[in-house]
């Protein structure tokens, strides 16, 4: 039957060439016997429709040939969990290192940051991550291949799991009883990457004020006003706050504790956030904006300047109250959590 010959030919294309002829000869003998018997029952040869229906129920040639192959894995189930863990870690750290190096290059490379260079650095990130993922996959595929083909020459992959000890398990994570959903790995990673970008952006602001003020820089240059030195103190506090927060996020990623960052972190970050506001609210003579040439412009702009400084001071006081209330709430929640955890562990 021509259709059967065509089917067997198609199956043979997907078989290993060493066993191809033998498998096809056996399959042909079995299928031809089946065909003979079915035709004997019918008392005639099969019609083309019947033959097609019979061949179809055998399964596609790829399906048939696949059953003759041993199960093959690029990365098998024994290695896969380790592969997934390493891949996530490698991608996270590649992103962190790449963003850090790019930020340093941008700052050191030129006095002002070119938007094109910044854009190109960001656009390259996916390609860096693809390369890292490809290398990790290649290494694990090589491990799998070696373990599958030379099991006697390399320690068993399953052996890794056999050596574990229950006493090496990490301690139980503290439960946050006051609610709060677990953060996903993707969210934690995005926060860390975004933290690096924000820190890089902040560090670039003193040399490139347009990054913060945009076209307002031109107005500042042209106006008779200038920012008081207090803003530099506040600026460095904000940089320090971001650096601490970013350090914690990276540490959480590294320790695998990104799902529930510690309550202490939350309280410390909130406290650090309050400090620059308190400093700004208590600035000497409430001077936030100064005149570039006070001897010349005091008479013309003195009243406006006082009004503006008073307004900024009031805003600082309101902010201080809001952030203090938030801090008090965070502290109360942390205390409540500690008490609940203690009660739950009794």
């Amino acid at each position: 039957m021509e259709l059967l010959d065509r089917y067997l030919q198609a199956v043979s294309k997907y078989l290993p060439w060493k066993r191809q002829a033998d498998i096809i000869a056996e399959l042909r003998a079995n299928l031809e016997s089946q065909l003979d018997e079915q035709q004997a029952e019918l008392g005639r040869t099969m019609t083309s429709t019947e033959a097609e229906a019979w061949i179809r129920q055998l399964g596609s040639p790829v399906h048939m040939a696949a059953h003759y192959q041993p199960q093959q894995y690029l990365i098998g189930p024994a290695v896969f969990p380790v592969y997934k863990y390493v891949l996530r870690l490698a991608c996270a750290w590649a992103a962190v290192v790449y963003l850090l190096v790019s930020a340093i290059n941008l700052v050191v490379g030129s006095a002002t940051v070119q938007p094109a260079a910044l854009g190109s650095a960001l656009l390259n990130l996916p390609f860096v991550l693809i390369q890292v993922a490809a290398w990790v996959t290649l290494i694990f595929a090589a491990i799998e291949f070696t373990a599958a083909h030379f099991p006697e020459k390399c320690p068993s992959i399953a052996g890794f799991h056999a050596k574990w000890s229950p006493s090496d398990l990490p301690p139980l994570e503290r439960r946050t009883l006051s609610g709060g959903t677990r953060r996903s790995y993707a969210l934690a990673l995005t926060e860390a990457a975004f933290g690096f970008l924000v820190l890089g952006w902040l560090l670039l602001v003193p040399q490139n004020p347009y990054l913060m003020f945009g076209p307002g820089v031109a107005f500042l240059h042209a106006s008779p006003y200038l920012l008081a030195p207090i803003w530099m103190t506040v600026y460095w506090w904000i940089v320090a706050l971001n650096a601490v927060q970013l350090g914690w996020r990276c540490l959480d990623l590294l320790r695998g504790s990104w799902q529930r960052p510690s309550q202490y972190q939350h309280v410390i970050v909130k406290t650090m956030g309050l400090v620059p506001l308190v400093i700004a609210a208590n600035v000497h003579d409430r001077m936030y904006i100064l005149l570039k040439r006070p001897d010349v412009d005091l008479q013309a702009y003195g009243a406006t300047l006082n009004q503006t400084n008073q307004g900024i001071h009031s805003a600082m006081l309101i902010l201080c109250v809001i952030v203090s209330a938030q801090l008090a709430w965070a502290i109360a929640q942390a205390i409540l959590d500690i008490a609940r955890n203690r009660a739950a562990s009794k």
């Binding site: 056996e26 003998a29 079995n30 299928l31 031809e32 016997s33 089946q34 399964g59 399906h63 059953h67």
Partner: protein, 109 residues
Amino acid sequence: MTLPESTFENLRLELRRGCLTLAVLVQLRREHYGYTLRKDLTEHGLMIDESTLYPLLRRLESQGLLVSEWREEDKRNKRFYRISSDGEQLLGQLLKEWQAINSSISSIL
């Protein structure tokens, strides 16, 4: 919520896989070639696809549980299989295991 049909199908296949190997080993105490073995199993109520049975025979042979030889029958060259001595020994152990599982499940039910 009803479970998808595929869930049942996957579990059924998983359940049958080991049983089919056992049935094949038992049936091959007498020599068969692929097609007659399939017919035999079907007559005993164990339907098995060609794409499952024929590769299974090769796998069992490569594990040393079956032996085979090419021989002409009805003017056609066929590969005949029968259980090896190692296969016989293993079959005994598997049957004991099967009976133990069967009685455990029966007692649970």
